[in-house]
Symmetry: C2
Subunit: 324 residues, 2 copies
């Protein structure tokens, strides 16, 4: 037993199965801790009552059944499904993986955008038919350079996307809660100016978390205000867009395209009309994934584990009332 | 008859049919000129003998049958098919449309690259089957950030691509004839260092013109030197790559992918193996097209027409011996 009196002993840590590659590093940092994997809960549900730290995802019911939980590090960034009133009332500290998705999600958004503008899905269809028919595409191409790129949120993802957009010769503007000037965009709009913002956008990149404030942030009013022909990209959470309003805007030809990595509902059921609408491209919620994902979330967890032991403030703490 | 003695009268200008929207502006600039469209040659082939200026594409045979031709503005950038020994011996001035393709081709190259790295073609296939299956993609994604981006040529296209690549967090390097330092890349390699260059590249973007020097620039030696897993993109001319050597490198798994807007032969015949090889994506030679293409080439032609009348040097003159 270590003589460190600040350290509750033994510390029980519950790990997601995907965190297995990190076990040695966790044990080296916290040699006295007992490590458990989530799978054990199936045979020993009472284990939950003794868990102090979690790296992975518990359900809201599991959190409320874990009275000794002091800190949970989630594997992803979005935590909206976890934050029931009971979970918000529980005094544990919640940290997330925000920040590691900026490059991945930005690349995914520009990939979808360019795939649409350069008609690459149509070219892929023709390739499978072994047909060389350039004239099908020439009149239907679009160019990023010169377009206005509207960013919903200017966190790590929005800022990186703004810089990439500027590299392509786009004019980046942003909509955010606190409309202070931001070095990566030419203009920042506040919540009261949302409709003016949407009227300026040729492309909207939406990667905001789902909170009470952002639910249906893009509603009928927003789509009505949108610049005609605008392309809307969503990699945040499906419910930040009102799906019916989106489909209406597509049907009346006001929008150029909807490029969706997230949908509402999700998973999108096979009979949902979005699957087959023209100028709609769907990827099944993997824009945040990268080859070394667990390594990256693991670094945040290990940093926080060291801080936790030292009694230092954790990084990436979620404001459970704000929801992100 | 205008009294301007420097002006041969009447000036006969032959126009591509696609230049029709420019006729008024051409006439305003050159009111004494007789304008003809290419179609007229079918009924009056002897017209060719009187043409002084061409905006569009003549065949090598037509050029040699046009003894009074003094200047031809081509609609595109690549002129390798025109430059037979007879055409090179003809004293007319050849200008091309280089410079207007930088944004378009850069966007096309990054579109193809991101479509591959983010597995968007696979997602498009699944969308058509209305299947939401993220787990198919998660282990197969790739990230641009941190990769080395090798640019063949550092003209308008290579420089713009280098800047965009840097925005994505890539490390741009370049290979060019004259290996002076260049502000948009971290290192410039000369022709003698081609194999060292290829060994550094995670991604090769090739948009060089086809000349005697660049034919089969990427041959068996280049592919053998290439960094394992590298992605090769070609939007220049198919024959700058040795197609058999490319297919061998793909078959032995040395390359990550080949993203081709141009091929050799071109058009690619339906029974060519490239169509169906794994990790090969083909677009049928339209990477240089943009919505306002004729407007952009037209601006170059009108600028040059004004200069021609003033006896001033033309822009975008092609060195017929160098081939670009």
């Amino acid at each position: 037993v270590r003589p460190d009196s600040t350290m509750p002993t033994p510390t029980r840590i519950l790990l997601s199965r995907s965190a297995a590659p990190l076990v040695e590093r966790i044990a080296a940092l916290c040699p006295e801790a007992e490590l458990h994997f989530e799978d054990e809960l199936k045979e020993r549900p009472e284990l939950l009552g003794e868990i102090e730290i979690v790296f992975g995802g518990l359900t809201p019911e599991q959190v409320t059944a874990a009275p000794r939980l002091r800190w949970m590090q989630s594997m992803g960034a979005g935590v909206e499904r976890l934050l029931t009133p009971e979970v918000r009332a529980h005094p544990f500290v919640l940290t997330n993986a925000r920040g590691i998705h900026a490059e991945t999600i930005t690349e995914h958004m520009f990939g979808m955008l360019l795939m649409h503008c350069r008609r690459l899905a149509g070219a892929w269809d023709l390739q499978q038919q072994r047909r060389w028919e350039p004239e099908r595409f020439r009149s239907r191409l679009d160019l990023l350079a010169g377009k206005t790129l509207g960013l919903l949120g200017l966190g790590a993802i929005g800022s990186h996307s703004a810089r990439v957009g500027r590299g392509f010769g786009m004019r980046p503007i942003g909509l955010r809660r606190r409309p202070e000037p931001h070095p990566d965009v030419e203009q920042v709009y506040g919540p009261d100016e949302a409709l003016e913002f949407f009227a300026e956008c040729d492309v909207v990149m939406n990667s905001v978390p789902l909170t009470e404030r952002t639910r249906h942030l893009m509603d009928r009013k927003a789509f009505a205000a949108l610049k005609p022909g605008a392309i809307v990209i969503n990699t945040g959470r499906g419910a930040t867009i009102h799906t019916e309003a989106l489909m209406e805007a597509l049907r009346r030809g006001q929008m150029g395209a909807a490029l969706l990595d997230v949908t509402d509902p999700e998973p999108l059921p096979p009979d949902h009309p979005l699957w087959v609408m023209e100028n709609v491209y769907i990827t099944p919620h993997y824009s945040g994934w990268r080859p070394d994902y667990v390594e990256h979330t693991g670094k945040i967890f290990l940093t926080n584990l060291r801080r936790y032991r030292e009694g230092a403030p954790l990084m990436n703490v979620v404001d459970k009332d704000e929801g992100y």
